[in-house]
Amino acid sequence: MAKHKDGVNVRELINEKKTTLNTNRLIEAFIPKFLMVIATISIFTTLGIILTLLFETVEFFKAVPFLDFFTGTKLKPLGENAQFGVLPLLTGTIISSVIAMAVAIPIGLMSAVYLSEYASDRVRRILKPILEVLAGIPTIVYGFFAFTFVTPILRAIIPGLEPTNILSPGIVMGIMIIPMVASLSEDAMSSVPNAMREGALALGSTKLEVAWKVVVPAAMSGIVASFVLAISRAIGETMIVTIASGSTKNFTFDITQSMQTMTAYIVEVTGGDAPAGSTLYYSLYAVAMTLFVFTLIMNLIAQYISRKYREEY
């Protein structure tokens, strides 16, 4: 290897630095372990959530029988004869989520179909980011919007609608979730191969028929997964309902009424900081646990759907 008559001899330099090779080996052995520790922090977060909720939830169920909690239709956490039935909160949560989905699913899906099947590239490039802005607006702003704008309009239309009610925050929550449904569904539809569209178009289909009979069915799992994720998001949404639905613990299915969701209950009870040790305080954790389990199941379902039913085309 006598090829370096003049100048530096890199080979020699590299050989001199053999030590670097050794430190490199140490680093190389250390880094994966270190990164693994970092990666497990996310697991510890989940674990932390579960344990935090679990301990206090157990305390709660020492004071309130399990069955009373899940079948009780009366929630009166304060005052003399406290009662801890979670059903009013469950119905509040479910109803607001159902309203939200009733808004978000059709509009989101139609937007997705429009963006993926009808819109030109240019239109799509303009509209999609605008939709995403909608998703980035803080929920407190939506709460304000629901309370000061949507509710008064609805009250003008629907007589008997209470000033705080579950309908208005439900609708606004739906609007907030539209981009999520639209964007995820659009992704699913765009990944349907063009050959499928061409096949349908060549049979004389209109674009609607292509979209409805071919693309949407083919992308169904992605679309459904987007719905489930959106539901999970609606269940966990807090500020909109807190501001616009009041804190009445109504057990009812009348959407014109004020109702409280699980999330809003947590806000109310913490109310700046919750006093430790009381049943009221523990009820916070029991409700949070219920909420957590709910959303966890939704998220797992969404992941299961999109993994299991990944379309084979």
Partner: protein, 274 residues
């Protein structure tokens, strides 16, 4: 599709009127067709009559415009946003490039089979029934009949008759391609366009599809694009040789392969290029 006429090249060097059979009915007549992808002229002054109940083969090297031409015949080429066309294509005497022509109607009359089999991710039955259904046929009994007839027509009935409810993706590539042909037969088209329908298939499936094409020409007019000259020679009645977006030669298949009148055709069919 914009119908624009930018700097038309009218070197009318392709004229095949001499060898036009007088007794054959013309299904498609292409007149002075030019097609641009953006600025790029992909079809140059095409003039080409297509005859009823014949198999017309289109051959030529890669990129010469075969697919573009066949996709112009059912206006699928419009899916590319930058496409511009000038000239006329008369289908059954009506200009399909006219504004008022409904492309859905055209495509109902003109079926298409693609290079890669593209069944829908549905059951075999629903694949076939798709076309009739969008045209408003809902009657279960009629649909059953159509499905059977189409599958028989595509010579695949025996292979699938016991699994009509199964997903089409469970079929082999060759079966999928025949399924796509059956799907296209289900709406009883007038013309069938095929863009290299066998290039993704194994030799045995290819043979089956070739036989099928021979069979189908009794009832349909077929235009088939192929890379494979032997295939063109085997199954077609008439062959057009495309080169760089132009029709170099168009005549009876026998004549074109045995006695090409253009040097370039000869070079191509003897494998000198392409």
């Amino acid at each position: 599709m914009q119908i624009a006429v930018p700097e038309r090249e009218t070197k009318n060097n392709t004229s095949f009127t001499t060898n036009t059979p007088k007794d054959k009915k013309v299904v498609y007549d292409t007149k002075d067709l030019n097609l641009w992808y953006g600025e790029n002229l992909a079809l140059k002054n095409i003039n080409l009559p297509i005859y009823e109940n014949e198999v017309t083969a289109i051959i030529g090297p890669s990129g010469c415009g075969k697919s573009t031409y066949i996709k112009t015949l059912n206006r699928m080429v419009e899916l590319v946003p930058s496409v511009k066309v000038s000239g006329d294509i008369l289908y059954r005497e009506k200009n399909i490039l006219g504004k008022s022509y409904k492309v859905e109607e055209l495509r109902t009359n003109v079926g298409m089979v693609f290079q890669k089999p593209n069944p829908f991710p549905k059951s075999i039955y629903d694949n076939i029934a798709y076309g009739p259904r969008i045209h408003g046929i809902r009657n279960k009994k009629i649909l059953d009949e159509i499905v059977e007839k189409s599958l028989r027509g595509a010579a695949i009935w025996d292979e699938v008759k016991d699994r009509l409810k199964e997903n089409a993706y469970g079929l082999s590539g060759g079966q999928q391609q025949r399924l796509c042909i059956a799907r296209c037969l289900a709406i009883e088209p007038d013309v069938i366009l095929m863009d290299e329908p066998t290039s993704a298939l194994d030799p045995i499936s290819t043979l089956k599809v070739e036989e099928l094409v021979q069979e189908l020409k009794k009832d349909y007019s077929i235009v088939i694009v192929t890379h494979n000259m032997q295939q063109a020679a085997r199954i077609s009645d008439r062959t057009a040789f495309f080169l760089n977006g132009e029709v170099v030669e168009y005549s009876e298949t026998d004549k074109l392969f045995s006695n090409p009148s253009d040097k370039r055709t000869e070079d191509y069919i003897t494998g000198r290029f392409g």
